[in-house]
């Protein structure tokens, strides 16, 4: 705290404000703790019950055990989110750079508005758009070609889906959904690059790209990574769009173009929860707990990649 407060209302105002801030932080912790307690409490039976009873939707309590139930789902969740991030991140950074460094002010504002709009579209609409528009287009024009010509790569091998409800389609839709989150924050960060730095770079004769590489990107790196983490969080937890689009199966597979895809945890909960009872519900909530843990790990890794800059 700053000692230089001589105004009469200063100290009081400071104390109140500080307390408000701290209690907000504590509220977040309490809320999360409550969710965690709820999850653990409801998930516990899935870990403590006889493992051969664990399974969802099977015939009369024949199960495979929690671990083998959750592994394909965990794989699918991370796989889909990673591909989505791989697609979205460069595009989002490109968009943010275009808007902040290339476009004129008026065009920039309109484009920013348009990209923000992508975030405004409800996930149900993305799901429906994925089914009715994107999947058929990709299935007709792109997937057969990829399958025929790049089928030697593990990602594009296997029988190509005719309806296009594949991991690739789901990941593309996820990428579109997280694009505005990443680009909006990146944009703000890039805008804040000190003009002095930029002008110095240009004055030294740098081309625009060199200026971006030397000033804008380093300055915005932490922000871009933080934004990507937010995007990744959304991709990991996205429920409805994946549930609508993906043709799931109980497999672990790198293939992106078939109709046998590992499902994601969130989508699986949404798909199976309504008709589940008893231990099945516990099992599904336990998979939710695993998603929690996965998010935590992914974030920790991203933090390390960012070189600890994301937090101070």
């Amino acid at each position: 705290m700053t000692p230089s407060t001589t105004a009469p209302r200063g100290p009081l105002g400071d104390r109140v404000f500080r307390r408000l801030s701290v209690s907000a932080g504590v509220t977040v912790l309490v809320a999360l703790a409550a969710v965690a307690v709820f999850l653990v409490f409801r998930a516990l039976p899935a870990f403590t019950s006889a493992q051969n009873e664990i399974g969802v939707g099977g015939d009369n309590g024949e199960g495979e055990g929690f671990l083998s139930y959750v592994l394909p789902l965990l794989f699918g969740t991370v796989w889909a989110a990673l591909i989505a991030l791989l697609i979205a991140m460069p595009v989002a950074v490109g968009v943010a750079l275009f808007i902040t460094q290339y476009a004129s002010k008026r065009i920039a504002s309109a484009l920013g508005y348009g990209i923000d709009l992508l975030a405004a579209i409800p996930s149900v609409v993305y799901g429906l758009w994925g089914i009715f528009v994107l999947a058929p287009v990709l299935a007709r024009n792109v997937y057969p070609w990829l399958g025929d010509n790049l089928g030697f790569l593990p990602f594009f091998s296997g029988t190509t889906s005719t309806s296009g409800r594949t991991m690739m389609t789901a990941a593309v839709v996820l990428a579109i959904m997280i694009l505005p989150i990443i680009s909006a924050i990146s944009r703000e960060v890039f805008t804040q690059t000190p003009a002095l730095h930029k002008e110095a770079a240009l004055a030294l004769g740098a081309t625009r790209w060199e200026m971006i590489r030397m000033t804008v990107l380093p300055y915005g790196r932490s922000g871009v990574i933080a934004a990507s983490m937010l995007g990744l969080g959304r991709a990991l937890g996205e429920t409805m769009a994946v549930a609508l689009i993906l043709s799931p199966a109980d497999v672990i597979s790198l293939k992106l173009l078939t109709n046998q895809n590992p499902n994601t945890i969130a989508a699986n909960i949404a798909l199976q929860f309504p008709e589940s009872t008893g231990l099945e519900v516990n099992t599904l909530i336990a998979t939710g707990l695993v998603l929690f843990a996965a998010t935590f790990v992914v974030n920790a890794m991203a933090r390390r990649v960012a070189g600890g800059e994301v937090n101070d």
Binding site: D59, A135, S247, N259, Q272, E275
Partner: protein
């Protein structure tokens, strides 16, 4: 708020039905005149209709029908409101048993342990009963341009969905369809990716008729036999429509322009129809070990009778035989009576394409509904 002529007619019919139930049983000529219990209803249902809010939750398969039932019921009872959360059968049963709702909608009757639990949930010790109010044929829809009629034997059907028959030109299919030019396409079997009563009914059928081919039994989540998964009835229909050579199962009212396979039943070939589906309920036996007022059905999938369509989904309303308050009893009785009546069934048939239950069954269900009382 009455917006369509169709709806006006419905409302009039519905209010007639209520006049019949609520007041003088001699005066109205409602078709549901198997009503022999006017003495019990007369003192529980006020003449001007019931009032209050009735809350239910459960199967989403009933959602469209429920919309019609809500409309018809609320038109006859302007002070009453029915709310229904289509959260799924499992959730519906669980919330009903927890006491959160007055009735549950469910694609399956109460399991034995749930029935035991219902004795605690309901007032008194009679427990809950299953009322089969929504019957709907499950069509086997296909996308084969130029093929107007497709016959599938039980063995072919099970083989396709078990992933053993993979080409449309397979002799198992071709032999039953002489004169039909089957395309040289791979079969893409489409199934539900969400847990659903439709899957359970369909797989129960497959397991009963071809236990050697479909070895997975009655399941809600698809086993590892390949095929494409799609969410919900709409998703399955869209997926079938998207790829030539696809085939899948879906609520018959929703398949739109897709062709529907004619199914082998014994030595006969039967196309789906609401009547044929309703007949399959009449041809089946009630489950045992419950009260005499319980109408849980164990559907006879292996029937060989002509004109019966055995791939049928029966969705229940689960209600208590005894409730705590008179208001709840009045609402439940009035609503269930309307839903099970010929009018209610006709409204559902029009709004959701379901199969109206037979008049005998309506009469039987009414005797059960009449037994609902306040505990004590």
């Amino acid at each position: 708020m009455i917006r369509t002529k169709r709806f006006t007619a419905l409302a009039v019919v519905a209010s007639l039905a209520f006049a019949a139930c609520g007041g003088d049983d001699n005066e109205a000529d409602a078709p549901a005149s198997e009503d022999t219990t006017a003495d019990t209803t007369a003192d529980t249902v006020p003449a001007g209709g019931v009032s209050g809010t009735l809350i239910g939750a459960g199967a989403s398969s009933q959602k469209a029908a429920m919309q019609a039932w809500q409309a018809g019921f609320q038109a006859a009872n302007p002070d009453a409101t029915v709310e229904y959360d289509p959260i799924g059968s499992g959730g519906g049963r669980e919330q009903f048993l927890a006491g959160g709702t007055s009735f549950a909608g469910s694609d399956a009757y109460l399991k034995d342990e749930e029935w035991e639990a219902s004795k605690d949930r309901c007032a008194g010790d009679l427990g809950a009963i299953n009322l089969p109010h929504y019957v709907s044929p499950i069509a086997v829809a296909y996308n084969l341009p130029g093929v107007d009629e497709l016959r599938l034997s039980t063995a072919a059907l099970a083989g396709i969905f078990a992933g053993e028959i993979t080409e449309w030109t397979d002799p198992m299919i071709a032999d039953e369809n002489p004169g039909v030019e089957l395309p040289d396409l791979a079969i893409n079997p489409v199934h539900r990716s969400d847990e659903s009563g439709t899957s359970k009914n369909f797989t129960e059928y497959l397991g009963k008729v071809e236990p050697d081919v479909w070895t997975f039994g009655a399941i809600e989540v698809w086993p590892e036999v390949g095929g494409e998964g799609a969410q919900g009835t709409s998703g399955v229909v869209a997926a079938i429509g998207a790829g030539e050579g696809s085939i899948g199962y879906a609520d018959a009212s929703q398949i739109g322009d897709l062709g529907a396979a004619v199914i082998q039943v014994g030595d006969n070939w039967t196309a789906y129809s609401p009547e044929a589906a309703a007949r399959s309920v009449d041809a089946s036996n009630r489950i045992e070990g419950r009260t005499e007022f319980d109408f849980g059905f164990s559907l006879d999938r292996t029937t060989t009778e002509a004109g019966v369509y055995p791939i049928t989904l029966v969705s229940y309303h689960i209600v208590c035989l005894e409730y705590e308050t008179q208001e709840e009893v009045d609402l439940v009785k009035a609503f269930m009576r309307y839903v099970g009546s010929a009018e209610g069934q006709a409204a559902a048939a029009e709004a959701a394409g379901s199969a109206p239950i037979s008049a005998e069954l309506t009469a039987q269900l009414e005797t059960a509904i009449d037994m609902i009382t306040v505990a004590g």
